[in-house]
């Protein structure tokens, strides 16, 4: 009756989104699969025939493959740790009574509005440049030798730039979660003589766990795809070549579409392994 009616209605209402996303997934995916079994070199005449799994073998056996997987995981992991830890601390701080709270919030969330290309350009040139960058001036002012950020601490620099961009996002979500924390519960605990640290560990942290998993899930999706930050700063040099960047080099710089497509398939597999792992955790948390 009513439920039957609404069930079929629900299917109809879901259809556009599901069909569109199915198409968005299947069409590029099947084209990528098709190319990945071909020797396809646009600059050498294009389609040079089927080659079976040759591209797949070549992509994994290349000396660049495993380091790029590790680089990807280090960048994603590093940014997640920094944004979550600092995000929790910032969210707690921003939830305290203070003067000018609104303005402070605006200051803190602003980096999220900056497009990745711009933020990479600004950091690279105006801060990390070893001669004209602000950091170099700062170091020199204290008599220290300026750090060559993008070559000597390349990974750290990229993690820092990306963390700066994503910290506001983590802070926003965690702040919303903290605001919903029952103040009375906290105050009751305080009355009972619980130390601030204990209150933080036993009340705040458990309350935030759900928000933290969501931050991790959403950020991971975006972080696996970061490209502009690397393209602009190091161009993949100094051990900053992620899997995404390696694929870019194969497809666009070497113009080897077949090989790059095989890399794309590996990237999808890697992403889905991570996704599966994440969704196990989030999935549990999702039953509200």
């Amino acid at each position: 009756m009513a439920t039957q009616h609404s069930r079929s209605a629900a299917r109809v209402m879901m259809a556009p989104a599901v069909i569109l996303l199915l198409g968005w997934m299947l069409v590029p995916l099947s084209m990528t699969l098709y190319f990945s079994f071909k020797k396809f070199l646009p600059l050498r005449g294009g389609d040079l025939g089927w080659v079976g799994f040759e591209n797949y073998v070549r992509f994994v056996t290349s000396s660049a493959f495993w380091p790029s997987v590790v680089t990807t995981l280090v960048i994603v992991g590093g940014v997640l740790i920094i944004t979550v830890v600092l995000g929790v601390l910032l969210a707690i701080l921003l939830n305290q009574p203070m003067w000018g709270q609104g303005i402070v919030r605006i200051l803190v969330i602003s980096p999220f509005f900056v497009m990745p290309t711009v933020s990479a350009l600004v950091w690279k040139n105006m801060f990390m440049d070893p001669v004209n960058g602000l950091f170099a001036h700062l170091w020199k002012a204290f008599g220290a030798t300026p750090i060559e950020w993008l070559s000597d601490v390349s990974m750290g620099s990229i993690i820092m730039i990306v963390s700066w961009q994503w910290l506001p996002f983590a802070t926003l979500i965690l702040l919303t979660a903290i605001q919903s924390l029952d103040r009375e519960q906290l105050e009751a605990a305080e009355m009972d003589g619980a130390q601030p640290l204990a209150r933080f560990a036993f009340i705040t942290i458990p309350h935030l766990s759900r928000a933290v998993t969501i931050v991790i899930l959403i950020q991971t999706i975006f972080l696996l795809a970061i490209f502009a930050e690397i393209f602009v700063t190091t161009g993949g040099a100094f051990g900053t070549r992620t899997l995404t960047y390696l694929i870019y080099q194969r497809v666009l710089e070497s113009q080897n579409v077949g090989l790059g497509s095989a890399g794309g398939v590996y990237a999808i597999i890697l992403a889905n392994i991570i996704a599966l792992f994440l969704m196990r955790i989030v999935g549990k948390n999702l039953d509200a």
Partner: protein, 276 residues
């Protein structure tokens, strides 16, 4: 509030929070300041903070060289169009997931998110070929579609979490009164979900505005948004910090101002279901 906060503690909070806030905001502030310097002052050693001869020269050069208005307009159309289209498609889907859940609802939701994991660089060539076939290269329509599809999973998920918080009884009552499904969605659900929809709109507008891979690779002259505008100011010959800063400021200012005005909305609305 049950208890007054000691002014002393409030002062410390304020000091700490402002310092951290300014530190985080500093790169943006520095970019804006640099955009008003001359190229020589932009790299001067020691750096000057405020005591320089403020000039609008860089903005003049950028305006003369690029058709800023067109880039801006394209950004607005592409980000706005993809967000609105996405919401129109996502609202019914999120509604049915929230109110007529089935065993597979969660799976579908997670599957939708997983479509975002397709690496864009890996599929550039196929998509490019497809766009040629469909005549969508360098068209705003094409970008609206691509960015809508990219963000659709996030939009569905956000809306789903907001809809779930709406108590089912209200809907029951409306149904008793003989409201049709359509009326139910339009007159009852949507108004209740407006804050949620607004945050969704904002977040996805920001994400679409800042998307720099597809917008750069699928456009040439006609549909190029601000991400392409920036690509003409990064590392040219000669000194360029001040001009780059001016161009950067022009590229981020609209979205920054929008973000500032909607700060409250973002702070209270971005939950992704994290709050029960």
């Amino acid at each position: 509030m049950a208890r007054a906060v000691k002014p002393q503690r409030k002062a410390i909070n304020t000091a700490v929070a402002w310092s951290i806030g300014l530190l985080i905001f500093f790169p943006i502030l520095w970019t804006i300041l640099t955009s008003f310097k001359t190229e020589a002052q932009a790299i001067s050693d020691p750096p000057v903070f405020l005591a320089f001869d403020w000039t609008l020269e860089n903005y003049g050069i950028v305006m003369e060289r690029s058709n800023y208005a067109r880039f801006l307009w394209n950004s607005i159309i592409i980000a706005g169009g993809s967000t609105i289209l996405g919401i129109m498609i996502a609202v019914p889907a999120a509604w049915s997931m929230a109110f007529v859940p089935s065993k597979r609802t969660k799976d579908i939701l997670l599957w939708m998110l997983s479509t975002k994991m397709l690496p864009a660089v890996g599929v550039l060539y196929p998509i490019y070929l497809l766009f040629i076939k469909l005549g969508l290269l360098d068209s705003r329509t094409g970008l609206v579609l691509v960015l809508m599809l990219m963000n659709l999973p996030i939009i569905v998920w956000m809306l789903y979490t907001y809809f779930k918080e709406i108590p089912g009884e209200i809907l029951e009552a409306a149904r008793m009164d003989g409201a049709t499904l359509r009326e139910e969605v339009i007159h009852i659900l949507t108004p209740m979900a407006v804050p949620g929809i607004a945050s969704t709109l904002l977040l996805n507008f920001i994400l679409a505005w800042n998307e720099a891979f597809w917008t750069l690779n699928l456009t040439a002259a006609k549909a190029a948004p601000l991400t392409a505008f920036i690509a003409s100011y990064s590392s040219p010959e000669g000194l360029f910090y001040a001009k780059l800063s001016a161009a950067s400021t022009m590229a981020i200012a609209p979205i920054l101002v929008l973000g500032w005005f909607s700060q409250k909305q973002l702070v209270s609305g971005l939950t992704f279901g994290a709050v029960k």
